[in-house]
Assembly symmetry: D2
Homo-oligomer: 293 residues x 4
C-alpha cells in the first residue's frame, strides 16, 4: 500500500443529473475524462462537489464504478464514502476498495455533534474493514463538525489514516499540522482561496473543483511552487483568485455546472433543492472566465 498516493492537483468532478433527475453516467464520464486529459494529478469523485450526500446508495456505487473505469489507472483515484452512520460508511468504503479506488476520503458527517471519541471510533471501525489509505477530511462548513488539530493528530494513529484534508479556510490549522506532525505527514488543502498560502505552508496537494474550468492556471501554480518560484506563484494565484472565490461563494456544484456551460460544455442538471446560479451570478462568472481564458 502506498500510504500517500497523492500530490499536486486533485480534481473533483461534479455529479451531473439528467432531465429526469437521474445521475447522468455518460456525461459524468466525459467530465472525468476532461479532468484526466487536462493533466490533473488525481481524480476525486463523490466529494462535496460531487454532491455525495444527495445520492442514494446505488447511485453512489454507479458513480464510483464509472469514475474508476474511466480513469483506468492513468492517475490515482480518491473516492468519497462519508455517511452519517458508521455502518453505511463501511459499506461504501468496502465498495470503493473492491471497485479499485486508490484511497477513500471520509468526513465525519454530523447531525448530532459527535464527540472526539465517537469520531475516532468511527474512523477506526471503517479503517479496520479496508486496506487502502484513508484521507480524513475536515470541513465544518459542510460537514457540521470541526475536528481539532489534536483530534486529527490522534486519527493518524490509525494505520491507514495517512492523509489529512483541511478545509476550514484557516491557514494556521495547516501550519499546526505541519509543525505537530512533521514533514512526513501529508496534508492537503481543500479551501480554494487558500491555494497559495497552503502551498507556502507546505501542503502536498490541492483538492479542488477548479480544474473543471481553469486547469492550466491550477497546474501552473503548482509547478511554480515545485520549482520554488514564489514570485511566479504569487502572480499566478492572483490571476485565478477571482474564480476561486466565486466558486466557493456560490457553491461548487452550482458554479461548476454554470462554468462548464459558459465554456461550451454540458453541465447537466442539479438535484433539488439545489438550483442553478441566477442570471446575475452567471454573468459575473462569464466575466471572470473571459479574463482568464
Amino acid at each position: 500500500m502506498n500510504h500517500v498516493p497523492f500530490k499536486g492537483i486533485i480534481a473533483y468532478p461534479i455529479t451531473p443529473f439528467d432531465s429526469l433527475g437521474q445521475v447522468d453516467i455518460p456525461l459524468f464520464q466525459r467530465l472525468v475524462e476532461r479532468l484526466v486529459a487536462n493533466g490533473s494529478h488525481a481524480i476525486a469523485p463523490l466529494g462535496s462537489t460531487g454532491v455525495l450526500p444527495y445520492l442514494q446508495d446505488e447511485e453512489k456505487e454507479a458513480v464510483t464504478t464509472a469514475a474508476i473505469q474511466q480513469v483506468g489507472g492513468r492517475v490515482p483515484t480518491l473516492v468519497g464514502v462519508s455517511c452519517l452512520t458508521t455502518e453505511r460508511t463501511i459499506y461504501h468504503a468496502r465498495y470503493a476498495e473492491k471497485a479499485g479506488a486508490t484511497a477513500v476520503m471520509i468526513i465525519p458527517m454530523s447531525y448530532w455533534k459527535l464527540t472526539d471519541d465517537e469520531i475516532f471510533r468511527h474512523y477506526e471501525a471503517v479503517a479496520s474493514r479496508i486496506s487502502i489509505p484513508i484521507m480524513a477530511y475536515n470541513n465544518p462548513a459542510t460537514g457540521g463538525v470541526d475536528m481539532s488539530p489534536a483530534l486529527l493528530k490522534r486519527l493518524l494513529q490509525i494505520p491507514n489514516v495517512t492523509m489529512i484534508k483541511e478545509s476550514t479556510g484557516d491557514v494556521q490549522r495547516m501550519q499546526y499540522l505541519r509543525r505537530e506532525l512533521g514533514e512526513e505527514v501529508a496534508f492537503y488543502n481543500g479551501s480554494n482561496p487558500l491555494a497559495l498560502a497552503a502551498f507556502a505552508a507546505g501542503a502536498s496537494g490541492w483538492c479542488t473543483a477548479a480544474p473543471n474550468l481553469i486547469p492550466q492556471l491550477n497546474l501552473a501554480l503548482y509547478k511554480a511552487i515545485e520549482r520554488n518560484d514564489l514570485q511566479a506563484a504569487n502572480t499566478l494565484f492572483y490571476d485565478q483568485v477571482d474564480l476561486l472565490k466565486f466558486i466557493v461563494a456560490t457553491g461548487l456544484p452550482r458554479a461548476i455546472k454554470a462554468g462548464l456551460e459558459i465554456l461550451g460544455e454540458e453541465g447537466g442538471q442539479l438535484r433539488n433543492p439545489l438550483q442553478p446560479l441566477s442570471s446575475t451570478e452567471t454573468a459575473t462568472l462569464r466575466q471572470i472566465l473571459q479574463h482568464m481564458n
Copy 2:
C-alpha cells in the same frame, strides 16, 4: 384542516435500536405509550431526538406507522420527514400523511448552504403534494442552515406552512416572530433551556424530549403559564433547568437513553457513530434526576 393543531407539551420519543442495530419497534411503541400516558399534548416521532437522518427509508416508514398506530388518535402527531433532497422529503411527507399524521415537521437540511430561494422552493414543492399542515423548523446547530426571521415569514405565505419551531436558542428570534407575524401565527420553542423565556414571549408550545424523563415538571410549567402565574412558572423552571441543560449539552438521544435506564426503563441501543454517555456523565444525570423525582 386544523391549521395549528398543537399547543402545550409536544413530546419527542427516541428511536431505540436492538442489539443487532435494527430499530426496536416494540420498545419504541412502549416509549410512545409512556409519553401519551404521562399527559403529553402531542407526540413527535422522527425528530432530532428520534435520529431521523440516521435511518434508512424503510425504517422511517416503520417508525411513522408504529407511532401513529400507538397514539391511536388520543393526541395529535407531528412526524419529521426532512431529507437532503426535495424528492425524498416529498416521499416521506406523503407517506406520513397517508399513515395518518396530523402534521409534518420539516427542517431544511443542508450540506451545501441553501439560498433563501432554494429553501422556499423546497417547502413549496413539498407543501403542494400534501394537504396536512407543515411546521417549519429552524435549528442551525443540527441542520446547518439558519433561516432568518424574514425567510420564516416568507415561508408562511405557503398555505399549509402554518407553524414555526425555533431552536436557535435566541429568544429575540421568537420575539421577532411574534412581533412581525402577529398573535395568530403559532411559534414553538425547540430550545429546552429557553422553556420559560419562550412561554413568556408567547410561544404556543414546547417541543421537547424532556417528558421522557420528567413529564410532571414539564406539564406543571405549562400549566403555570396557562394560569398566568409567572412566579410559579419561574420556580418550576429552575426546578428542572439542570436537566434541560444536561440533555441538550450531551445530546438528546444519548441523554434520554441514559435517563430512561436510570429510571428503570429500557432505552435500547444507539446507532453508530453515536455512543452512550460516559460513566461520569451518567453519574451526573443520576444526581440530577434524583433531585427531581
Copy 3:
C-alpha cells in the same frame, strides 16, 4: 452599607455636549431631573449611554458631582467608574464615593484580553479602596471581554462586589447566575430586548436608557412583573420592543439624543467620532415613538 440598593428601573442619562465640544452640565442636570421626575427607581450616570470612555478625567468628575447633586438623594445613584488601568479605576471609584454615590458600576475594559486572574485582582484592588457596593458589569460588545458565569461567581467573593449586570443578550447567562448563586444574589439586565425574558428569569432590575424616551412603558412593565401578571407584561413588552431594539441597534447615545429631540427636548451634541443618526434612521425613530406616546 446596603448591599443591594437597586431594583426596578435603573435609568441611564446620556452625557450631552455643547457646540464647543464641552460637557453641557446644565443640560445634563435637566436630563437627570426628567428621569427622576418620571419615576425611575435609580439614576446611573457615566454608563455606556453616558459615553464614559470618551471623557477626560475632570469631565468624569464634573458629571459625577452634577448627577449626585441633582438627584439629591431622592433615589439611589450608580456611577460608572471603569477605566483601562486599575489605578485610574480606583481614582474615579474613590471620587464617586466621596461625592456621595450609592454604588459604582465597573466593567473590565479590555484592550489586551485580560485573564480571569487579572480581572479578579482588578476588582479586588478597587473594592479594597472603597466601602460602597460594586456592580460588576459584563458587556463584551462594548468592553471587549466576556466574563464567564464562573468568573462572575468568583467576583462575588469580594465583599463589596454584590451585584451583577449582564448585557450579553443571552438569557441563559442570567438563568445560570440565578441557579448557581441563589435567589439572594441580585442580577440586573442590561440588554434592552431581553427586558421581559430577564424579569421572567428573576432579574432584580433593568438597567436601561429607555426611560429617557418611554418611561411610562418601562415602569408599567416592571409593575406588571411585580404583581405577577405575565400576560400584561407580555403585552407591555411587545408595545415597547420596537423602541428597545432600535436604540440598541443604532447605539444608545445617538438614539437617545435623537429621540429627545423628536420629543421636543434638547439632546445636546455628540462627541466625535460619534455622529448623529441619519435622517432615515431619525424618521424611523419618529414613527416608532409616535406609535407609543
Copy 4:
C-alpha cells in the same frame, strides 16, 4: 512626503514601567536601541505592544519623543496615536509629527461600534491636520471594530492614508486588498502567525514585536522572501512559529517582558491590570527560546 516609507521588519518596542508604576524612559530607550542595532527596518512605538491605551497623555508624549530621539533617523519611525475621540487623536498625531515621526498609525478604537461613515470622518479629520502619512490599522481583537476591505479601500481615498496594516489573522483579507487595490498600495501584516502566508500574498512588511526576542530569525525570513526562496522561507518560518504563536496567545506586552528577562535583559514592570506571565507560561517560553537561540 514619502508615501510608503516602510518595508521589511517593522519592530514594536514594549513600554516598560518602573517599580512606582511610571514609564521607565531610560529602559525604553535601551530597548529601542536594541531593535535598531539588531537590524530592524523601522521602529513603531506606542503600538498595542507599547500599551498605548493604558498611558496618560503626557506619558504618550514622553514615549514619542524618546523613541524618535533614540532612533535618530537611522530608520523610519511609525508612532501610534489612536484615541477613542477624534480630538485626542488629532492632538497626538500633531504631536508625533512635530516630534519628527515618519508616519503615524491609527486604529479606530471603539467602545460604541462606529459606522463606516464615522470611521471615515475620523480618519479624514486627523489626516487634514497633519502632513505625514497614515497607516490605517485593522485589528478587531484589540480595537473592537472590524473594518471591511471595502472601508479600507475607501480610506485610501484620503490623500495621506497610504498604508494598511491588517491584523485580523485572515490571509484572505490581505489577498482581497492586493487584488482590489493593486500592487501599488502597500499592506502590512500585523498577525505574527501569518508571517509567511502574508509575505506569500505580497505584504510589504511585517509589523511585529518578535524582534525584541528573535531578530535574526525575523530578518532571515524577510530576506528569503526578498530573494524569492520559498523553501528557505518555509523552513525559517517553522523555525520561529512556536514563538510567534506563544507571544500572541499570551499577549505581546506580557510575553515580550518575560522573554527579555529570559534573555538576560531588563523588561521593566507591567501596568495594572496586566500581570506577568505565570511561572508555567514562563517555563514554556524559556523552552521555546532555548530551541531558537
